[in-house]
Amino acid sequence: MTSQFWGTPEGWIAIVGLAIGTFLIRYSFIGFFAGKRLPPKFERALQLAVPAIFAAIVVPLVVMNQSQVDLNARWPHMVAALVTGLVAWWRGGMMLPIVAGMSTLYLIEFVFR
């Protein structure tokens, strides 16, 4: 094996640092508040934060092209996302909504591009 395979000491510090830090973030509440009730308002805020975070992850991935909102290039993706949402709402599950969305995307790109 070449030395490239093993990486550098600095690289390993970065790997270990990110791994430990990320674990501590993940462990934060689980480690110290598991089984201890947080105030109901806070718990409701958490319930609301979850859809907010995931919507904030999803919307840019759907409507943006190279960090810019580009409805011209992304309308097929928006339609596909809408189809996935409708199927998920109507039927639930994982496979069917994703397949429906990707099929919609492929179909639109095949017909219009």
Binding site: S3, Q4, F5, W6, G7, E10, G11, W12, A14, I15, L18, A19, G21, T22, F23, I25, R26, Y27, S28, F29, I30, G31, F33, A34, K36, L38, R44, A45, Q47, L48, A49, V50, P51, A52, I53, F54, A55, A56, I57, V58, V59, P60, L61, V63, S67, V69, A80, A81, T84, V87, A88, W89, G92, G93, M94, P97, I98, G101, M102, E109
Partner: protein
């Protein structure tokens, strides 16, 4: 009906059922890991972490966006501490997942809590959120969670490894990366059971797009706060209207 001897066995079987159910549900997500896993593997090698480092990073960080940010900063010659901190900021959202999980597990040993934390990523969290919302496997939530992790963690390592050794050469027309937002949509939509949650999702989505230019995905954290606030306001308005409706 009391067969004391058979009770533990029945319990074990249910734990195994929960594990298998989690595993099966998450198999569907494996294709969505391929494009991003390949890209992360390539980026790690290009940043000089070496193939072994790329694999270790995937295995022990198990967090794609932060891996990408870390390797990007290292490749651009940023100081090590800045690169690590930047990657960690990207993962701050996981504290929200940790808080949500902490409220639904009790009587756990430290080992169990470590397992919950070790495999807590967007996908495993959302599946647990769904499991919880449906009231499934209440006796064995960790088994379900670990079933999910047992397919997703090795898949993440495998795709990063493939990227490190082979590069990322998927045909762009496949757009496999688009299955990631679609999978999140499929998981979140069934969770929207109140006007507050729907309002939080709409506000969060709008904020996520408007604040996308913020560095280190800080827009996600901001969107999380904005969405939760909007949701709480909607809750309060509905409660006020209910009170008024009750009086008149």
């Amino acid at each position: 009906m009391s067969h004391q001897g058979s009770l533990p066995t029945a319990g074990e079987e249910r734990a195994r059922d929960a594990f298998i159910a989690g595993f099966k549900q998450c198999v569907v997500l494996t294709p969505s890991y391929i494009p991003f896993g390949l890209v992360c593997g390539v980026a790690a090698v290009q940043a000089g972490l070496g193939e072994l480092g790329a694999i270790a990073l995937a295995a022990f960080a198990f967090a794609g966006s932060s891996q990408a940010v870390l390797t990007q900063f290292i490749a651009s010659g940023a100081p090590l501490a800045i690169a690590i901190l930047s990657g960690l900021v990207v993962n701050l959202r996981m504290a929200v997942y940790s808080a949500a999980i902490s409220q639904r597990i009790s009587n756990t040993t430290r080992r169990e809590r470590v397992l919950w934390a070790a495999f807590l990523v967007d996908q495993t969290f959302l599946f647990d959120e769904q499991r919880h919302a449906r009231g499934l496997f209440k006796a064995h939530p960790l088994a379900f969670f670990l079933g999910c992790s047992a397919i997703l963690w090795p898949t993440w390592i495998a795709t990063n490894t493939a990227g490190a050794f082979l590069g990322a050469k998927l045909p762009p027309t496949w757009q496999l990366e688009f299955t990631i937002p679609l999978s999140f949509i499929a998981m979140v939509v069934p969770l929207l059971k109140s006007s507050g949650q729907t309002g939080a999702a709409i506000a969060g989505g709008a904020a996520g797009a408007l604040l996308f230019a913020l560095p280190l995905k800080l827009g996600l954290i901001a969107a999380c706060f904005i969405g939760a606030m909007v949701g709480l306001v909607i809750d309060a308005l509905l409660a006020m209207r209910a009170v008024r409706g009750g009086k008149s």
